[in-house]
Structures are given as C-alpha cells and as structure tokens.
C-alpha cells in the first residue's frame, strides 16, 4: 500500500470511530438522529452519502423530504415517519431548520407564524432528547462566493453536472447568513445547539470535520431537566367527572329519528370536507364498556367508506415500542379530506401507562405537554381535532360487564383484564380528570359525554362531531 496522507489516516481513524459509535447504539439500544443542515445543499448531500459509506448501512436510514413534499401534512410529519427505532440511526437532509430558513428568507414565514414554527422545532428536538434519542446537528456553512464557484464547477462537470437553481444560493447571501444564525439559536432545543462546519470545496476535510463532531456527540443524550419540578397530579378524584354520567334516557323513537338526521348531516359534512380537503381527527376515550365502539359505529354508519378510517389502539407492536409513543399516531395522521377516528389513542400514555406504571412518572408527566404540542401541529394545518370522553358510572359499567358476559354477540368484548381494571376505578378517574384538565385546548377541545344512557351518548357524540365540522365548513 502506498503511504497515505495525514488526511487519509485521519479519515480512516474516523471511519473506525463511527463504526464503534454505531455498534454502541446497537448494544445500548439507543437511537440517534444526525441532522445535516446549512446553506450548501450540495455539501449536505455529499456528506450524507459519505456518512452512509462510513457507517454500516444496515441500520441507517436517510430521511430527505423534498422542499415542497406533503404540503397538506404537518410540517414535522415527514421527519416523524423516519424516526429511528432503538439501536438505529437516521440521517436527515432537508432538515426542519434549513427548510424553515428558506421559507423565512422567501418571506413565506414571518412574525407569529415563524415564532410558532421555531417553538415547535425546539419542542420536537427536546421531545426526542427526552425520549433518549441522541440528536447531533451539523450546520454546513459556505460563503456566497465559494458556493457560487463550487456550484458553477459542479454544473460544468462533463456538461452533465448539478443544475444550479436560484434557491441554491439563497441562504448563502450575506443578509441571510445572520438570519440563519438567529433561527439556529431560536429554533434549537435546550442543550441541542447546531455545530457549524465550514462547507466549501475541500470536501474531504469538510466531511472529516463533520464526522469528528458526529463521532464525539453520537450516543450522548441531552436529557433536559424540567425547569420546574414535575408536579404529579395526585389525590382522589375531584368529582368533576362523577356527576357527568347520567342523563334523562332517550326513547327509542326519538333516538331513531335524531340518529337518522344526524347521520345524514354528518354524511353531507364529510363529503364537503372531502371536497375541500378538510381533515378531521376524532378521539374516543372512556372507561371499559363506556360505549366507544357503539358510538364510533353510529358516527361512521352512513359515511362513504372512502372518506374515513377507524383505528383501534391495541398494545403496541415491537416496531412501535422501539420508538417514541407518538410515532404510531403520527403515522396515522389523516390524508387531506379524510376523517380518522381513534378508538383510544395517544392518551393511553397518561391513562393506562400512568395507572399501571408502564410509563415512569417523568414520562407521563411530560406527556401532557407533548400531546398538546402534537395536537397543535395537527390543528395548525387546519385540521379539526376533537376529543370525546364518554363517561359512565361505576355501577353502569358493572351492569354492562354482566350483560356482555351473557350476550353471545358481545362476549368477545370481555377480557380477563376488565374486572382487574375495574379495581383501579378511582385511579383511572383521577387520571382522566387530570388528562382533561391539562389537554383541553382551544384548538383540540375535550367534550365530556354522559354515557349511562347509550342512546343519549351516541346522539351527543354525533352532535359534537357535526358541530365541530360545520363550524369549519358552513
């Protein structure tokens, strides 16, 4: 072998360090996200390619959303799709801050909207870090002069090279360099700063510099201590829900008439929503046997099967368990014009996971904010987000359990767990009160439906959904 230069020796040593860091991810079952941003798109792409060459590609995924992909989906949606499972690595090119900077430089994003975006980026990064994901952020910065030269050269290569677009130079302009600096600091989670690496023409040096940062930081997690100590909701239920169970029963005839009318109304609204591209998320929560399934079937009974989807929420699969608990719900965000109905949902984190101790105190305590943020991201795309708590009394639940056991049509709904869960009635009720108090927001409100009379509850659920849709459509 010929004598290698100092550069080659350093790159070779770095290669080994990166492989070792990647092996540690696997053994420690930790996930990592490497974000490559900056004003030099060509350099970002080259660095991503170099990294996939250095890493063992079997556990690496590239996430590279194009600038205008998925305009109707929440901004963070493409990143959520590709979040790594434990032991794995995602490299992001076309990252959230660079795309935000391009929009800001184009004046497509400013003022409050920009501030909300930057906050959402901070929250997102902190959420990943809090979940134990290692987040490494490289900002490739190239001066306008160098970038211009570099792009021209790339364009020239065999007359078949890069096609320079005006956008390629946008962020390298003098004024935008300081814009980017400001956005980098305002759009970064606590203890998750961008590490600036010079872009430019010395590609091997550049990739070495970036790689050294990655080797040093990958595997480190900047778990942020909450500024205020987690206030654990505690004590006995405050009785907020206990009173809201009964309602004068609806007679069968009045029920049938109202139901037919409401279903036709929701049918019309959902067709209109499909036409206009208005998406809707409806969540149903409530104790076992509250009547969630029955309410959902009435809700969807007259809808066009092409316009809606019902998602049950069983125990998470291994793929789901290996990621942030919100991942599987981000994957089910409805397409434009669609209605997604969740039979139980992300609120499991602050209900069953809290009550059964599946989530640690700090985990479920921070989930309220995470959930509010998730729903805010959906709502800001214009989506209708509505949460229904169907509330029944402990006595009514027992009656229904007993009726289920003797009904051949309903026996399949009973599991061994149902009576066991019932013993934790008070804990569940307290958790529900906390959940509703902490996640009832203007953009994603809770509606509590008295559930002891099934007919009343179904009518009330349908009415609530109709109202939410017609507020937006009429």
């Amino acid at each position: 072998m010929a004598t290698r230069s100092a550069l080659e020796r350093s790159r070779s040593a770095l290669h080994l360090r990166l492989l070792a860091a990647q092996r540690r991810l696997v053994t420690k079952q930790q996930s990592a996200v490497i974000v490559i941003g900056g004003n030099d798109r060509l350099a970002a792409s080259e660095l991503a390619n170099q990294l996939t060459e250095w890493f063992d590609s079997r556990t690496v995924r590239i996430c590279a959303p194009t600038a205008h992909a998925h305009p109707k989906h929440p901004f963070l949606w493409p990143y959520w799709q590709d979040m790594p499972a434990k032991g794995r690595l995602t490299i992001v090119v076309g990252d959230w801050l660079t795309r935000t900077a391009v929009q800001a430089a184009h004046d497509e994003l400013s003022g409050d909207a920009l501030r909300v975006r930057l906050k959402s980026l901070r929250t997102f990064e902190e959420l990943l870090a809090a979940d134990g994901t290692s987040v490494v952020k490289i900002w490739l910065e190239t001066s306008e002069k160098t970038l211009r030269k570099r792009l021209r050269e790339a364009e020239d290569t065999d007359a078949e090279g890069w096609v320079v677009s005006p956008e390629d130079l946008l962020l390298a302009k003098h004024g935008n360099l300081s814009l980017c600096r400001a956005l980098r600091s305002q759009g970064s989670g606590k203890n998750l700063p961008w590490k600036v690496v010079m872009g430019g023409t010395e590609t091997k040096h550049r990739d070495l510099s970036a790689g050294l940062v990655i080797a040093a930081q990958m595997g480190q997690v900047s778990r942020r201590r909450p500024a205020i100590a987690v206030k654990k909701p505690s004590g006995r239920p405050r009785g907020l829900l206990e009173s809201a169970t009964a309602h004068p029963a609806l007679d069968k005839k009045g029920y049938s008439q109202q139901m037919a009318k409401l279903q036709a109304r929701l049918g019309r609204l959902s067709r209109l929503a499909a036409q206009k591209g208005l998406s809707t998320v409806v969540v149903l929560e409530g104790p076992d046997a509250a009547g969630k399934g029955g309410a959902i079937r009435r809700l969807c009974g007259q809808l066009d099967a092409a316009h809606y989807q019902v998602f049950p929420t069983p125990a998470p699969t291994p793929e789901e368990k290996a990621r942030h608990y919100l991942w599987r719900f981000w994957n089910k965000v409805p397409a434009p014009g669609h209605l997604a109905v969740f039979d139980r949902s992300w609120f499991g984190r602050v209900m069953v996971e809290r009550v059964e101790g599946f989530a640690k105190d700090a985990e479920w305590a921070r989930a309220y904010a995470e959930i509010n943020d998730f729903e805010a991201r959906l709502a800001e795309t214009g989506m209708v987000v509505l949460k229904l708590w169907i509330n029944i009394s402990k006595e009514e639940q027992l009656r229904r359990f007993q009726a289920r056991e003797i009904s051949p049509h309903k026996r399949h709904k009973m599991t061994k767990e149902d009576y066991r869960n019932r013993k934790k009635w008070d804990d569940n009720l307290r958790a529900a009160e906390d959940m509703i108090a902490r996640t009832d927001t203007p953009h994603a409100p809770w509606v509590v439906v008295s559930g002891d009379d099934k007919r009343y509850a179904r009518v009330a659920a349908l009415k609530a959904v109709c109202r939410a849709l017609s507020d937006r459509l009429d």
Copy 2:
C-alpha cells in the same frame, strides 16, 4: 324485549356466525379479504359499514382507495398496502374489478391494456389464495331504475344527503351490466368467482344475503393446484455463471476517471428523472462479499439525497412474516421520480429461502411467476426495473472473507453465517442460475456483472444503470 321479526332473528344469527368465523381466523392464523364490488357504490359503502358493525372491529381494516388515488403508482399498490396479516381481515371497497369496469365503461381502458389488466387481477387473486388467504368476493348489482330511485331518495334526505354523480349510475346502465359480467368472469382467479347479490333498496335483506355468503366462504381457501406439475430446478450448476467472474483488472487511475464521469452522468440522469417523474428500481444480488454494498455506495455517491433510497433486506420482521413475502417490497415501491436501490430483495424467496428450505418447494417454485408479475406491474407504470447479479468466484470470496476478518473497517460485515453459507456454494449457484433464467424479462432484465475485480464491477454496475435510465430519458 318485543318479538323480533324473522329478518331480525336471521341477522342476529348471522352476526354470531360472522364473529365465530372471525375467531377461527385468529385461532387458525389465517387471513381473509372480503371484496365488495358492484354498480351500487352507496350499497357497497353501507355493506362495509354494516360488516364493521358485525365483526369485532379490532382485527378488521377497511381498504377504500379513491378512484383516482395514486395515479403514478401501480394499480394494485393501494390494495397491497392494506393486505391483512395472519389472523386478520381486510374489507375492500373500491375494489380492483369495479375500478377496472369504470375505466372500461369510460373507454379509458380497452384492447390489450384491458386484457393485461384482467390477467393481472387474476394473478393477484390467485397469489393471495396460494398464500393461504381466504378471498370472498361480493358483487352488488342494482338495476338502473332502482338505483336511480335510491340515489334520488338518498339525495333528498333532509336536503343533506348523497350527491349523485353521473359516475354513480354508469355501471347500472343496461350495456354496462353485460360488460361487468364479462369482466367479472375474465378478471377472476381460478375458483375465485364473484358472488352476485342484489343491491337495491331493501338494505337489511341485502346485507343479510351478502353476510350469509361471507359467513359461508370466509376461512375457505381456494388453493389452486398448478395445472402443470411444479418442475423443480435441480442438478448441479450448469456453469453459466462460473465463467463470468473474472475480467481484466482496471488500474486505479483509469478507474477513478471513469467513475467520476459515470457518477456525474448518473447524477444528471437522476435529476432529469426526478423532474420527469420517472421512477427506477435497481436490485443488487450476488454471493456474500460480492461487493454489492460497495457498488451501491458508488452508484449513489453523487446523487442528491432527496432522490434515492437504499433498502437493505434484513430478516423479515414479525409484521412482515405474517404477510405475503412481496408485501414488504410493495411497501417500498419508489414514489414518482425516485430511485429505490435494493441490497438483496424479493429474490431471497428463490435464493436463500429455497436453499435453506425456509420456503416449501411449491412456494419457491411458484415465486418465479409471482416475481415476474410483480416486476411487470412496476414496469407497466413506466418504471425502470433493473437487476444486477454481481458474480464472484469461490476463491475470490474466500480471499475477501479473510481480508474482512483482519480489516477493522470491514470486520463488522462478517457474521457466523458467512462460512456456513459458503458450504452451500453449489446450491446457491444453481439457484442463481435458475433465478436468472426464469426471471430475465424484457421489462426487467438481469445484468450479470463479473465481480472478481471490484473496480471493474463498480464501473459495470454504474454503466448498466446509466444505460437503462438514458434509454428512457434521452
């Protein structure tokens, strides 16, 4: 309880039968697809809703692609996405035959294209059945007069009902009734006929009739005996590949120059493909240590990270194992304009699964036709499909294994299995010969690349991909 009518009693009994049939799916770990087609879209939607009410919704999924969804994806793509895992049930509304009939009635599909489509539907249904999936097909047929009346009524309900479109009546027209009949028979897999149920206004009777068919057929599998006995490829390798390993080595300088030129060329072609929406699938297969990974890194080394995705093919996850082996690859079909590179692929079915006995003889033997059909479905959307076999000699493989073991940069690539697999060299070679002979098609050709010289192999792989793309783009 008041006395129930005979109809209600029958429906209640059917409800129990359906729940029992669904439980059997779970205990027997069998999957089922219920297809609801016909000329009465309103009835299909109502029936689907009624079925989700009868079934335990936790293991049911609705697949309802809209008529013009995913125009750039293969026609069968949305159905593949929603195929049920073992123990689960998918209800299809907006099915493959109804959508084909609408296109034929509109004259958007005729002649050869229609024949190819109908053949692809037969093949698809037979593939599901061969895999043990129970396929139940209900065709809801309503006369034009009844349908017109019914749609008018639906339209009138509280002035908020169904909006009748010209399309809603299209298939109910007299001439199209016989068109549908012909398509139903030509587009159905062997022993997988459509069961015609009268649509119309008597919704409770209609759903009862359809439900009875489903209860009777669900869980039955019509595994088709191959007309010709499976001809097992057997015997020793025929030496077709043994000779194609060596090639005069490329010197380092010539290699670097050629590589730079080819990478720039592929970069240009891939940008052009992205612009024009031309998608590409490249598959790399070959013995362990053939240099697939290295070839892929050179292939993608100068591409824009937003334009391509590399998919390794590890052992299937539980979710993947519970479905047809092609499912996980249908899920990775590239979006318009993208390049998907597969590091090993669906050919595992006729390579490792055959050689190791993971697939039964009948399973891998029918896989050649299934794979050809899958690739034909991709190619007919205009996609470039190219398969590269990188071929090395047994001696070269040993040299590389030994080099890997002492190289700290490559040690991670070695697994315990590698030497074990090497013992089956002849079996693997024979399987590769059969695979190439049986799946080399005009729309998805194999290119055999001599791999003993790595530089030559990388250049040849890049050239082959460039050629395939430029044939379509230039």
